[in-house]
């Protein structure tokens, strides 16, 4: 069970949230000219890191707002929470 600090509502149980997968995955803008390879990369390919992971979560049963979470996928410890659109703290590695 994770305790997630929603940037707007404060600490809440993970069951109030939905995980939207990895952050830093912007939808390509030039969709008319996109190759199949680039579409496949965007739609399906994932970093799926072991360790530090940047994710997007939504407070589905709360304020219903999206935000970003920095979490370790081995210890499950959440190290940072930052608002959607903000730069990830500590760099984009």
């Amino acid at each position: 069970m994770l305790l997630i600090h929603c940037p707007w509502c404060g600490p809440r149980e993970q069951t109030e949230f939905s995980c939207g997968g990895e952050a830093r995955s912007a939808r390509p803008a030039d969709t008319d000219t996109l190759t199949d390879q680039a579409w496949g990369d965007y739609l399906f390919m994932r970093r799926n890191p072991r360790g530090r992971c940047l994710e997007q979560w939504v407070h589905a049963h709360g304020c219903r707002r999206w935000f970003n979470v920095e979490r370790d996928t081995v210890t499950y410890r959440i190290t940072r929470v930052y608002k959607a659109g903000d730069e990830p703290p500590g760099g984009d590695s």
Binding site: M1, D36, W39, L43
Partner: protein, 416 residues
């Protein structure tokens, strides 16, 4: 290899059972192999076994970072069935089912394969329509299946609650009589012993830390026990597939998630078949020791920690008690998690990669155990011939770029 038989049992009994050999050697890795398999779960061991048996490739090592079968092979609920919906998936899992049916004899090792039948319950009219469609598709593909009414389900499983006023009433089920369970550890041990007897080195405590290539050609693997040269490398690393792919800057369409299972205290026989439910999301069977073996859904987030959320355990047990109110006071003895490699279409990736001589077998997600023999069989073919078998041709990584996905998510009678 000591062949197991009634005669060998009698002969060893005369020596107070002190003459049994170890089931497989525990060799140090050689410096070079024709094929290195990364991952000593049952899929990897089966791959090595069929490489030796079907293709005569015996200069093979299976490298396991822990102990064999210590990962997902020993962490699942051992359900075996082949009642998938799409033709591609059905053919693959049915190949596996046919291998299961002769596996104990083939391996000379009792894998305790028990064809006790698998029920997939339907709780809504739409679910019953889907079940009817899937059973029809199964039978057209030569896979056995029957559609049962709630009364027929009750006759098979007397402790199930088929009351019409249940919150999610049971309207019927599909039944695959050839489905069942097997002993997961025995599957790993049997394949390890069989592969070892044919000359394969099963190397434990040998974590792969890098995959070395020369241009577009794989040349070997870096391990905790030094560099091992290999002409071909097959990666069968389940939840850690993305980690291995990242060593070569490859990305996979996989998310690793914790999937939990539980066993209860042993109780007297109450359930002689496998019961699965999509709607309430739980599945259950009873082991030969009397424990109830219970599983449910994956966690909502990615994780490599081999443990999951309490909320998932709660939801799973709520589902089981919904189906079997009489089990509400049974205590759970143990609970654990495995890291499953979930693909967007809930189907595996078995095939070639952009790197020559490197092959991946991953993405089995929540349902890999049942596929163990077939997975090893087609992967061995793919590695030996450097091209997929027709059974796994559709399961290429390429399908995520062409768009030809094999959509089994939610279609396969599975509680995914």
């Amino acid at each position: 290899m000591n062949r197991y038989s009634l005669r060998s049992l009698v002969r060893n009994a005369r020596n107070r059972h002190e003459g049994w050999q170890a089931a497989w050697r525990n060799p140090d890795p050689k410096r070079e192999y024709d094929v290195v398999i990364v991952g000593g779960g049952a899929h990897g061991l089966a791959t090595a076994y069929y490489l030796a048996k079907e293709h005569g490739v015996t200069n093979v090592a299976v490298l396991e970072k822990g102990w064999i079968g210590g990962g997902n092979t020993g962490r699942n609920t051992t359900i075996i069935r082949s009642n998938y919906l799409s033709d591609d998936a059905t053919h693959l899992y049915e190949k596996s089912m046919q291998l299961w049916q002769g596996l104990a004899q083939d391996l000379n090792f009792n894998v305790m394969f028990s064809q006790r039948g698998v029920l997939n319950l339907g709780h809504t009219l739409q679910e019953m329509r889907d079940i009817t469609r899937r059973v029809g598709a199964n039978r057209l593909n030569g896979v056995d299946g029957e559609v049962l009414t709630a009364a027929q389900v009750k006759a098979i499983v007397p402790i199930i609650n088929t009351a019409p006023d249940a919150r999610y009433p049971i309207l019927g089920a599909s039944l695959q009589r050839r489905g069942g369970v097997a002993r997961h550890d025995a599957v790993a041990w049997g394949y390890a012993r069989g592969a070892d007897a044919r000359g394969v080195d099963v190397v434990q405590n040998c974590e792969v830390t890098g995959i070395r290539r020369d241009g577009a050609q794989v040349v070997g693997v870096e391990t905790r026990r030094g560099f091992i040269k290999a002409k071909k490398v097959g990666v069968v690393a389940a939840g850690h597939s993305s980690v291995l792919a990242a060593m070569l800057d490859l990305r996979l369409p996989i998310v690793s998630r914790p999937l939990q299972a539980l066993v209860s205290e042993p109780i007297k026989p109450v359930l002689h078949t496998v019961v699965m439910s999509n709607a309430v999301h739980g599945y259950i069977s009873q082991s030969d020791k009397g424990e109830l073996v219970i599983g449910g859904g994956v966690d909502a987030y990615a994780g490599y920690g081999q443990r999951g959320s309490f909320s998932v355990i709660e939801a799973t047990l709520a589902a089981i008690v919904e189906l079997f109110p009489t089990l509400s006071r049974v205590r759970m003895n143990r609970q654990w998690g495995g890291i499953v490699d979930v693909c967007p279409d809930a189907c595996p990736i078995i095939g070639l990669t952009p790197v020559k001589g490197l092959y991946f077998n991953c993405g089995w997600g929540t349902g890999g155990f049942k596929a163990t023999p077939g997975s090893g069989w087609v992967f061995a073919h793919t590695i030996a011939r450097d091209r997929p078998h027709e059974l796994n041709a559709a399961f290429s990584l390429d399908r995520f770029f062409t768009g030809r996905l094999i959509d089994e998510h939610g279609a396969a009678g599975v509680a995914h």
